[in-house]
């Protein structure tokens, strides 16, 4: 999970850097102190970035979760190969495969659904003026 940290730091850094400096300066001219400048101006503007970073981090963690869970046992397998194992030379366990896939996808789907607006805005943030 710690392996995600660099990408998260890097993404957040980019998003915070994208916030136009004059807007923060306008806040200061309006009388905002350092804390208000961060909480009322900077954070709301970086929110799409924070949301998309959070989602990405969740996806990465979830994909690793099975691998981590099984790490101590003999059959350590990442999520993808765990699902793939249901299609084996002994036959295609379609029901099990579907169930495992659904379980694997569901949380991301639910979380992604709620954050999709933020995510799309986040990924295009700064692309156009």
């Amino acid at each position: 999970m710690l392996t995600n940290l660099p990408i998260i730091v890097w993404m957040l850094y980019t998003f915070f850097k994208e916030v136009p400096v004059p807007i923060l300066e306008a806040g200061r001219m309006d009388g905002a102190n350092r804390w208000q400048e961060i909480s009322v101006v900077l954070l709301p503007l970086a929110l799409p970035g924070i949301a998309s970073t959070a989602l990405l981090s969740l996806i990465l963690c979830w994909n690793e979760a099975f691998w981590s869970l099984n790490l101590t046992s003999s059959n350590a397998a990442p999520l993808a190969s765990f699902i793939a194992s249901f299609s084996s030379p002994e036959g295609l366990f379609f029901a099990k495969l579907s169930a495992a896939s659904t379980l694997a996808v569901a949380p991301i789907l639910v979380f992604g659904w709620f954050s999709q607006k933020q995510l799309v805005r986040g990924l295009t943030f700064g692309a156009v003026k």
């Binding site: 136009p20 004059p22 807007i23 806040g27 200061r28 905002a32």
Partner: protein, 367 residues
């Protein structure tokens, strides 16, 4: 109501001096415009006044009190940024309310104030809109509104109109001038557009490379530029320059001549030049007359028709280019010979260092 004084203000970035000691008095209710070419330090100077940039040296006084170390909001200023810098996540009302809220103004008073300002700026219909849903002109109005509601002692503008199209820029120029007349707040306005400077300013400050070249009313700069730089910078199309030599010096002025002969008596103080000294003669396109008897002979190389005016690009025998402004009906044609006369009273002479020789009489409109 405020008076702003700059006392030998300096700014250094990484050991490089960007503002090299600017001293300036900005009177109460005055509209002062900083102009100068890109990179001359206009924004830096304005941002130091605003408190967004630290002052490396000198004193900044507002109403007699030194404010160098005061934070921006405590200086009683409001700034309008070139990029508008509205809070994109707040609607127009909240944008204008933010500063008032931070200042602790009660809700009812805030509402009253914002409604009033929104009405004068014709923004009442857009109070619920987010900045992203507004046109450039409307965003600019919100930025101005956000500055006005706080009742600042001094307004600071950094190229506020440069993102607008030409028509809107003209309209906003008039609106800003009207607003200034009504609010009577001291205003400092940065632009590199000399039309904005000429039309709006009570006082223009011409900057070059961090140094003040001249301070004066628009017509003072137009009629009595102190040096070549100001002469070239103020006025559009720009002033024409011709190399000349002094022929004779009399009480009524200095007679100069070009290589090929024609001489001209320019009414400047006789004491500032020596005989046979090389000078530069400056004459604006609008002060050259087309005259069949004129003693300057040239050839028309280009005709620019602006409708009300025509600009003729004329080359003289020695290939010097002169731009001549004449009326819109002038039937000038390319490659035709033309004879011109320079209006001696409106000519300027500059010495080898580029400093203007003092005119004998002041223009009546140049305060």
């Amino acid at each position: 109501m405020a008076k702003v004084e700059l006392r030998d203000i300096r700014k250094t970035y990484n050991a490089e001096e960007i503002i090299k000691g600017v001293s300036l008095d900005i009177e109460n209710e005055e509209f002062v415009v900083f102009v100068g070419p890109s990179g001359c330090g206009k924004s830096t100077l304005l941002r130091m006044i605003a408190g967004l940039e630290e002052i490396s040296g000198g004193d900044l006084m507002i109403d007699g009190a030194r404010v160098n170390d005061l934070e921006p909001a405590k200086r009683g200023l409001a700034m309008v940024f070139q990029s508008y810098a509205l809070y994109p996540h707040m609607n127009v009302y909240r944008n204008m309310e933010f500063g008032l809220k931070l200042a602790g103004m009660p809700e009812a008073e805030r509402r009253q104030k914002i409604t009033d300002v929104a009405r004068t700026l014709q923004l009442d219909a857009y109070l619920k809109h987010k900045p992203g849903q507004l046109s450039g002109g409307q965003r600019q109005r919100v930025a101005i509104g956000r500055a006005i509601v706080r009742n600042p002692k001094v307004f600071l503008f950094d190229e506020p109109l440069s993102n607008l199209d030409a028509a809107l820029r003209g309209q906003m120029r008039v609106e800003l001038a009207t607003l200034h007349r009504r609010l009577k707040a001291t205003t400092i306005y940065v632009t590199h557009d000399q039309v904005e400077a000429m039309t709006m300013a009570d006082k223009i400050v011409v900057l070059q490379k961090g140094v003040v070249e001249q301070v004066g009313s628009p017509l003072e700069l137009y009629h009595h530029p102190r040096n070549l730089f100001v002469a070239r910078f103020i006025g559009s199309p720009p002033m024409n320059f011709l190399p000349v030599t002094t022929r004779s010096i009399d009480p009524e002025g200095v007679t100069v001549a070009r290589d090929r002969g024609e001489s001209l008596l320019v009414p400047v103080l006789p004491g500032e030049t020596a005989s046979a000294e090389a000078l530069t003669l400056g004459v604006r396109p609008e002060h050259i007359v087309i005259d069949p008897e004129g003693d300057v002979h040239g050839t028309i190389r280009m005709v620019e028709r602006l409708g009300a005016l025509t600009l003729l690009h004329v080359t003289l025998a020695d290939d010097t280019l002169l731009i001549v402004q004449t009326d819109g009906d002038h039937g000038g044609e390319i490659d035709r010979p033309i004879r011109l006369r320079l209006q001696a009273d409106n000519c300027h002479l500059f010495d080898a260092r580029g400093i203007a020789l003092t005119k004998l009489t002041r223009h009546r409109l140049a305060r």
